[in-house]
């Protein structure tokens, strides 16, 4: 049994960590901080947890020592205090963007600010278990991947590694509203946000950097992301347009995925000939830690279309963090993460 605390527990990611860990048999939630809601019940902000916990938020200044600290702050807020946090907890899992990139210059390029703790960058393991399980077992510090990066990396990784596709991909991402976090604005105002197909970032998405870092295995990968927000609260789907290398057949794609993901508890290859859920579908992944992956080879246009889907707040954020924790502590990797998802929903 370990004691964990959550720094920044009033956001959506923080809420999901609490939800998952309340049912984790080897974890006790010690403290959850919130500047704004200090002293208030956690269930005021996360109403699904009513009667399931009597946790109250504490002010971040009252954070005590713990075994593991989850940091769920806005991007840019953790790098300045990371050294102090490391005195409070021997192990830290940061869900923000600050420690994902190994290279401080790349960070500055994409986030338009200096990195305040670049010496710590090498100490962080990138938190996608499927790629870094061995490192995670020994890790003290983990930087969880961005949600869009997570699903893109998991979908592309076997095909890059096994040289199935050319190193030039276009990621057309369909995004949900929870990805923008909990702060209201006109762009998230229901009458303006409901029903949209909003091209909010046709190019220049920051997760490009993470994806290139993780997937530039043999050659530099060239990634172009276009992100479109649709009327969905939770969920993320990427349609990845790739060019297969000469002579590649469907069976080669299958082989690559099986080679890398056979035995992975949270990866499912979804490619059905029948039924109406023939490809990955975020709708039925809500609340789950699965990453579903599908593909279609189109010989007529010499294109391999990949499709990846996750719940952005679980496999894309909090579930990924708990999966990393399970690996770090040698707990069964699936503990707390086996909710199967709902149908219909």
């Amino acid at each position: 049994m370990i004691n964990i605390s959550i720094l920044g527990g009033s956001g959506y990611a923080g809420g999901e960590i609490i939800r998952i860990l309340l049912n984790h048999p080897q974890v006790k939630i010690q403290q959850v901080t919130s500047r704004k809601f200090a002293g208030r019940e956690v269930s005021l902000v996360h109403p699904n947890l009513r009667k399931l916990t009597d946790l109250t938020f504490i002010h971040p200044e009252k954070l005590s020592d713990c075994d593991l600290l989850f940091v769920a702050l806005p991007n840019g807020d953790s790098m300045g205090i990371m050294k102090d946090l490391q005195k409070k907890a021997k192990k830290i899992i940061d869900l923000g963007a600050d420690f994902r990139l190994h290279d401080a210059k790349t960070f500055t390029h994409w986030y338009q600010k200096e990195h305040l703790a670049s010496t710590l960058l090498p100490k962080f393991v990138y938190g996608i278990t499927e790629l870094h399980r061995a490192d995670l077992k020994k890790a003290s510090f983990v930087a969880c991947a961005g949600c869009e990066a997570t699903v893109s990396i998991l979908t592309l990784y076997p095909l890059i590694k096994h040289k199935i596709i050319k190193e030039k991909v276009i990621i057309d991402a369909k995004m949900s509203s929870s990805q923008a976090g909990m702060s209201p604005s006109l762009s998230t105002h229901h009458p303006e946000r409901a029903g949209v197909v909003r091209s909010y970032m046709p190019s220049g998405h920051r997760h490009t950097a993470e994806i290139e870092q993780e997937l530039s295995v043999f050659n530099k990968l060239e990634v172009a992301i276009s992100a479109t927000a649709i009327d969905m609260v939770r969920g993320l789907l990427v349609t990845i347009h790739t060019i297969p290398k000469d002579g590649m057949e469907e069976k080669d794609v299958w082989k690559a995925y099986r080679a890398e993901y056979k035995g992975e508890p949270f990866i499912r290859i979804v490619k059905e000939l029948q039924g109406i859920y023939r490809y990955p579908e975020p709708k039925i992944l809500q609340g789950t830690n699965f990453c579903d992956i599908g593909f279609e080879l189109d010989k007529a246009t010499n294109r391999l279309v990949l499709i990846g889907a996750i719940d952005n707040l679980v496999k894309g954020t909090a579930g990924q963090a708990v999966q990393s924790m399970n690996v770090m502590y040698g707990f069964k990797e699936t503990t707390g993460l086996m909710f199967p998802g709902l149908h219909p929903i």
Copy 2:
């Protein structure tokens, strides 16, 4: 051709007035004010009007004289300046709540503030054309009804007048997000607002006062409103639970509605035996000035269930205002208001 201006044109009601009047052959939009967007194009805020108008917002201080002024300010903001506005325009249509109630004390009771221009109250005609057409023809000042009051009054009026039902009604209102206006807040934040069935006002809705005022024809009407917000941007449906007087049959209900609404261009009685749109449905009223009304008499429980539906921003707000204007100036009453609505949508 008359010159009209709109005081407060950046909100949803203001936007709808502009949309409707851009196609009105007897009206020229002279000025549209916005404190926040002064100097900016109207289509920045109302993107549906792109390329259809080159109007820009002006600061309210620059408001010139005009024939008719539409006032679309937040509740409570027009009463303090109404006397000054009357120097600018001989005719005024106020879309807010300030001049709807004839009695200043009732206003204070429901809005929890003193009325700042109670001497003007008797000069305002309540803007539901179907009830006050004769008065509107001579009116200089009009106070448009609240959206929830509009549909409730129109649905109930013939049955009260013809003594079909007892003077005690329960209005169960299903509301949309545009009714809350254009200001973002946590309660309108998409992840929190999408998919809700939110009992945001189980009792105590302010429109009670308007409904009682308009419908206490013979006896005091007792109105209990419960308002539930659902996942809908535009539209409003009321399910009104009433008790029929002894011996009332379906044909009496039909007779009452026909007596009052025969010839009304914007009222439709919807009660079909076939098809899937057997009762009023706000979905297909979006953009229209119709008020659809239906009913079902349940002898087993001695209850008459009434169903009324409108587009809250058109018949409930801007369309109602334009309909009043048409009557005031002797224009054809339906001018600019005959959009038929879309199906499917």
Copy 3:
């Protein structure tokens, strides 16, 4: 460990039973039948269960003996075969309407057909644990309540029993599309069904009979239901308009609820002064077995508004059935049913 089978496993209720029981430590799913999908994988129809089970549907004729049989057939289909089914399983939980009403005449009145097994009616216990826990412990046959009846009964029961309200209630129900089951029709066709506020049953809802049966404690309860379908896949909210007896105060309501539901694991009284989830909200109950209940006393109109919310497929159907099973077998009542729900969703 018991062996259970599901007769009629390809519908939404059947799918939810499978989902819940796959994680139930004391239950093994032996067989799942489907006439239409016999021989096919269960996950073809219930895609959320991919990789989580290798169950395949069998034809109902191949049903073997088992400890407990869940029957999830369309209304009217189980009564004709119940005697045969009782040879297959000593315990049966029927999720349909056939055995809910104790009185065959009442059944005929509401369902417009003769009851084919009226002698079995007295053997069935009505499956709401909170009202019939003692009987369920000894029960062999259980008839689960209708979803709309479940939430209405749970919301009203303490107030009827403690004589807080008059025996005359109006239930305004907001319904979701999954309640109509899995058969496509024009009325469930997405372009026609999305965005509706459809008064599909202003009066005459069949669940009236169950509610009256369960709640006519001292006097005959008079129940009038109006059901409106809204744009929601899963969830159910009732706004119940009641009249408090003379002198009743809010504290009396609290007292009644506490008296009956203190210690109930799946009932929560939700009545908050702050936050945006101040009353029950089906949105955050998706996948959970909770019934959330709230109320507001409106002295101005002498009305007590009750609000109840559930997930129609869990507490309203499959979760209720599993909860009954847990009680019947002496398992911990909450086993398999503690999913906390998601926020945001």
Copy 4:
């Protein structure tokens, strides 16, 4: 004043033609056919038209001669009867796919059936006014474009013609449920269709053929379409991933669009620096005949992302047909088509 009839008026396209033409001052709707609903009121199927028309459906066998016949039948149904229809009407506008492709072999390749009237193919003008205005003026027979083809062609045409981009494009289309027509199926069943991000056609979309036909101006255009269905009833957005030719700048893109579309009443270039509707958005195009087009040049990845949006049932179908009709008869091109769209919606 011309007399028009509609063959196949009970579908969504037929309904939209009726809606638009009811307000067209130079057109009289003579007959509307429906095999299934013959004898029934048009408003039974198109409930938005209640009280606005007393048209009833007639059986197609009762079709009389008329000036112009709109044919709105399922794909494949018009080619077999086209010769007969040409005896009924001198001018015909076909909204189906049968006469869009000039080449019978290409038709057979994509639609997997023989063309039954290939000799008529050369007589049909492809119905996109912006590309074929001169031909339409003289046309007797018009084949309206597919909705997905319409928006793709309009978005790409100027850039192909002015040699701004390479002849290899990827179209990532976000589709609505009304595109699938009015026939219910499990895939359109609300619980299954709501909330989806369904990769229903990752490759192989039939509209590829039309787009290649219209845009292979200098060289063969290579088009790869991936179509994803999202939770939207009406609307269509394409994100088109293209590669700019060497040295192309944003101003070249602007120049090409202006050169082709200056003066076009239904094309708007939408590329704003401020506001939340910075790019085309189908949400606010519902009911309109606009095609909104935007773009972003991403130098980092040498990519030009194009964004096009329409209402699939108006500019993509019925509005396009009426626009063609207006051109054919020399009516003002915008007649009946100037509904500005709603905001918010």
